[in-house]
């Protein structure tokens, strides 16, 4: 953020609301049994209904409802037992029927919330609604004409609308990230933004700090990455403040973000009000959600990110940073939970988290793999950590064992025994080695006794050399101090 913006934000408060469209990962479309597939040859995923042929009728996809309900429950929304589909009318080549089937007056979900983790704390962002609708096709401009591909027309979407209560570009980006993670967590969408499976529009306005009334808002479209959200929103805030500070007025309009130019441009003024002429779709009776369906949804929900974030800190004493990392993906959280479950219990969650985040993720990242691809099951890692915790091997050896077990899949204990690297903690045995080492290096002994502290490391090293690195470092240090006199 520039200092200009920082200064402006002392006087002006940005108000941001997001409208996010998420494609649901069903196998067939919302109202037609045509398949959903990304990247198929043009117009190969249509049927008479998708084409809007005369005489065709919509029938809603059960799976789309179930996926949407998962999101509703996960956001603690009020779920309408009977919601209605509505027709939203406008003319555009990628909208075959001349109307989109959406929801208006009676949406599926209302008044939920998404929690975002900002600066280690949890901020609750209210959602106005979550509703169901169908996606449009794709229009591509080619000179004086446009080409229309209807493959995407009819794919089921949920639209998530937040209350206008985000007050920084950063929070807006964070909300988008949270939703992105949540829909993947719930397994309702791949949410790959490059494939357009999660798309965001931002409504932005500014007002004098302390004021209640909202300023004129603009709608920002074509935001298809987290980074763009931040840049586009910040850019828009700046643009609006500059206008009002110089005595002008913000025009209510839709603006298209151009990432290459780093600025937005006005589309047709929103005043030209597209009167969508919403009315309940007469082809679709009320959508009923009954107890049985809700019961199934509730039972199938995994523990959600924020709940785990708190639990990891509370029950396992993890740092906020480590907890946040573990809940950034459902796969990580589940791996960690499995680690804890596999561990007999002498080591803390912190230790397990450490080994997982440092050693395992390090190895996976180096190979570009995700946690789901991990060849090392939680039980194995847990066993390794236990070996270190109970003194069977040293931490240093543990790291070597990890690398070998990760590569070959061999059990840690088997590797330890095969390589004969059990830690030596026996005081008698180590005592003899310590004596030998000190006796063999009288000059260094004298130097250390005379005050050269750094020579301590030399003696530790020698003991390690004699014991092939197997000496218990704590016991070794102890014995050396006794033998050397300090």
């Amino acid at each position: 953020m520039t200092t200009e913006l920082e200064r402006m934000l002392e006087t002006w408060e940005p108000v941001i609301g997001l409208e996010i469209h998420v494609q649901l990962k069903t196998r067939s479309k919302a109202f037609s049994p045509s398949a959903c597939e990304f990247g198929a040859p043009p117009n190969s995923l249509t049927d008479p209904l998708v084409l809007g042929l005369p005489g065709t009728l919509p029938v809603f996809n059960r799976a789309a409802l179930e996926l949407a309900l998962r999101l509703g429950v996960a956001t603690e929304s009020q779920i309408r037992a009977r919601s209605r589909f509505a027709r939203k009318h406008y003319f555009y080549p990628d909208l075959p029927k001349g109307y989109q089937i959406s929801q208006y007056d009676e949406p599926l979900c209302e008044n939920g919330h998404i929690d975002i983790i900002a600066d280690g704390a949890i901020k609750r962002v209210k959602l106005q609604r979550i509703h169901l609708e169908e996606d449009a096709g794709k229009n591509t401009h080619v000179g004086a004409v446009s080409h229309v591909d209807l493959n995407r027309a009819g794919v089921p979407l949920v639209e998530v609308v937040t209350s206008p209560e985000l007050h920084s570009a950063g929070d807006a980006a964070e909300l988008m990230r949270s939703l992105h993670r949540l829909v993947r967590w719930l397994d309702i969408s791949e949410a790959d933004m490059e494939k357009g499976q999660l798309r965001c529009d931002a409504n932005v306005s500014v007002r004098i700090r302390g004021e209640d009334r909202l300023g004129t808002r603009t709608e920002l479209k074509n935001i298809n990455s987290f980074r763009f959200v931040q840049n586009a929103v910040e850019n828009e805030i700046l643009r609006q403040i500059r206008i009002v500070e110089s005595g002008g007025r913000v025009t209510r309009e839709t603006r298209l973000w151009d990432a290459n130019l780093g600025q937005s441009a006005s589309m047709r003024s929103k005043e030209e009000a597209n009167d969508y002429r919403y009315f309940p779709d007469p082809d679709l009776p009320p959508l009923v959600v009954d107890g049985a369906m809700m019961g199934g949804i509730l039972r199938s929900l995994p523990e959600l990110p924020v709940a785990r974030f708190e639990r990891y800190q509370r029950a396992h004493g993890l740092s906020a940073d480590d907890a946040r990392l573990l809940v950034s993906e459902r796969g990580l959280a589940e791996y960690f939970d499995a680690l804890v479950a596999a561990h007999p219990g002498s080591s803390s969650g912190r230790t397990l988290a450490n080994w997982m985040l440092t050693e395992l993720l390090g190895a996976l990242n180096a190979e570009g793999k995700s946690i789901e691809d991990s060849a090392m099951p939680p039980a194995t890692l847990a066993a390794l950590v236990e070996l270190v915790q109970n003194g069977t091997i040293s931490g240093k050896i543990g790291k070597e064992i990890f690398e070998e077990s990760y590569k070959t899949g061999e059990a840690p204990l088997a590797i330890v025994d095969r390589r004969g690297v059990r830690q030596i903690s026996d005081e008698h045995l180590l005592g003899e080695v310590v004596d030998r080492v000190v006796a063999a290096n009288p000059k260094q002994a004298e130097g250390y006794r005379a005050g050269k502290d750094q020579l301590f490391g030399f003696f530790v090293g020698q003991v390690m050399k004699e014991t092939q690195g197997r000496a218990n470092p704590v016991v070794t240090s102890d014995l050396l101090r006794k033998r050397l006199g300090r």
Binding site: P48, P54, G55, P93, Y278, F279, P282, D283
Partner: protein
């Protein structure tokens, strides 16, 4: 004579081998060739298709294979029923030459039962009209007096049936479009309970009002067609999942103890005295045979017309949004997208269709929706309640089908005058009830009169039973339209 066979006669003669399907079809096609130049009932005659279907049936019969319930029955279809590989236009220029890639459910059912599709019949464009004068292609003449209209919007179907150019037909009824032309042409016309028959493949006019139904010469024939086309269709979310009774069982029954509701509101001053007289004769016939009459009130009757002319155009304006010349139909090209849309639709739709689209668009505008469309939907509920109350005291409601007999071509000067022609048939659609029109006599100038029976939801059986009694007592018997008598 062959031209005026019943369905039962036709099936018996085909099954017994008395006549081959091929000869029957050739006879029909011949007759159409002779009569239809003057009458204009057919838009498309599928000679090759019909003969092909006939040949296949003759083959099956020879091979002793099982034959369907409508085997060899020559049927015509209103041109808003989508037929695979056979031009379907809804009598509009905007669908000029459109060849559908799929069959409507009702069409598929007829084919599966062995019926032979002779061709597609003329109608008011998109079903909007009460005289078939609004077809974009040709006028259709009433065979009883070719200076008069056949009624609409299923005028072509009614004429084809009345003049022996098919054995039966399927029309559609949104505000009376089966019953009114049936009455004008001296045929039987039945509109089933809303949801009884699938709307998949029915070119939509008003989604919450449209239903497909039979137009036939006798009540027994109507029952036979109804039996084949009724039933739940998973492709139509508004179709009912209730069991379909055997309609044949309703035939040949008596009306002893049947309570016939006579609503005061339908017998006011505007009815032609000859119509009134014929209706009274029909009532007397029923009473003679053991029925009782009950005076009832349907207080909200007067609101049916304005309610209908809000709901129907509103839904129509929405349903017709898909006609834009992009994926099918006729296009008027332009370099500008907006111009292309507007010129295509401006040129492709006739004046009545444009009028109703404008009316519907007006009614759905934000700010008007509550006062118009929503209000009209509430009025519907009140009209339905009127009938619910009445049906506690009667089993069927009896009214004239139309206030006058067939009027002269060009007689209705203003749109509103035309709308008044439907005044007795509208409530039935608004309330979603089943209704039948049965011929009950001729006026002094040899024009047919129809009496209407309205039934409880799902009670087509009572309509058929009582309708047949009227038919045998005061029906037209063997009287045929002049010029089509042989």
């Amino acid at each position: 004579m062959t031209a005026y066979w019943s369905i039962a006669d036709t099936v018996r003669n085909i099954v017994s081998g008395e006549i081959t399907a091929t000869v029957l079809v050739e006879t029909m096609l011949d007759r159409i060739g002779k009569l239809d130049d003057k009458l204009g009932a057919y838009l498309t005659i599928d000679k090759a298709g019909a003969l092909g279907q006939a040949a296949a049936i003759d083959q099956k019969r020879k091979a002793g294979q099982p034959l369907g319930a409508l085997v060899g029955v020559p049927i015509s279809l209103k041109d808003n029923l989508v037929t695979k590989d056979l031009v379907t236009t809804a009598a509009s220029k905007i669908l000029d030459g459109w060849v559908p890639p799929y069959d409507a459910t009702v069409v598929a059912k007829l084919r599966a039962a062995g019926a032979i599709i002779l061709g597609k019949t003329n109608m008011d464009e998109f079903g909007m009209g009460s005289s078939t004068e609004r077809s974009a292609y040709q006028p259709t003449k009433n065979p009883w007096d070719t200076a008069r209209v056949p009624g609409g919007s299923s005028g072509g179907s009614a004429v084809a049936v009345a003049a022996g150019m098919c054995v039966g037909s399927l029309g559609t009824d949104t505000g009376g479009s089966i019953r009114q032309p049936a009455a004008f042409c001296g045929t039987v016309g039945l509109k089933p309970t809303y949801g009884r028959v699938s709307r998949w493949g029915v070119i939509a006019f008003a989604s919450s009002l449209d239903q497909v139904g039979p137009i036939t010469r006798t009540v027994a024939d109507a029952a036979a067609l109804l039996q084949v086309i009724c039933g739940h269709d998973p492709r139509d979310a508004t179709s009912l999942d209730t069991p379909v009774p055997s309609f044949r069982e309703a035939l040949g029954g008596d009306v002893k103890g049947l309570r016939i509701g006579i609503p005061a509101e339908y017998f006011g001053g505007d009815i032609d005295p000859q119509i009134r007289a014929a209706i009274e004769r029909a009532v007397a016939a029923l009473v003679e045979r053991g029925a009782d009459t009950v005076d009832i009130n349907l207080p909200h009757t007067e609101l049916a017309l304005p309610a209908y002319y809000l709901v129907a155009p509103a839904e129509a304006s929405s349903n017709l949004s898909r006609y834009d010349g992009i994926r099918y139909g006729k296009r008027v090209d332009a370099t500008d997208l907006l111009e292309m849309y507007s010129k295509t639709r401006g040129a492709g739709f006739g004046p009545e269709v444009k009028r109703r689209i404008m009316l519907g668009t007006y009614a759905l505008r934000s700010g008007y929706y509550d006062a118009y469309y929503r209000k009209a939907q509430q009025i519907r509920a009140l009209i339905k309640k009127d009938f619910d109350k009445a049906f506690r005291f009667c089993d069927v409601v009896l009214t004239p089908t139309t206030p006058t007999a067939a009027f002269e071509i060009g007689a209705k000067a203003t749109p509103f005058e035309m709308y008044l022609a439907d005044i007795f048939t509208l409530s039935c659609n608004l309330a979603g009830l089943p209704g039948i029109s049965v011929p009950c006599g001729l006026t002094d100038n040899n024009l047919p009169v129809g009496v209407q029976l309205l039934g409880k939801p799902l009670d087509e059986a009572t309509l058929l039973r009582a309708g047949q009694v009227i038919e045998s007592a005061v029906g037209l018997g063997d009287r045929r339209p002049p010029g089509a008598a042989s």
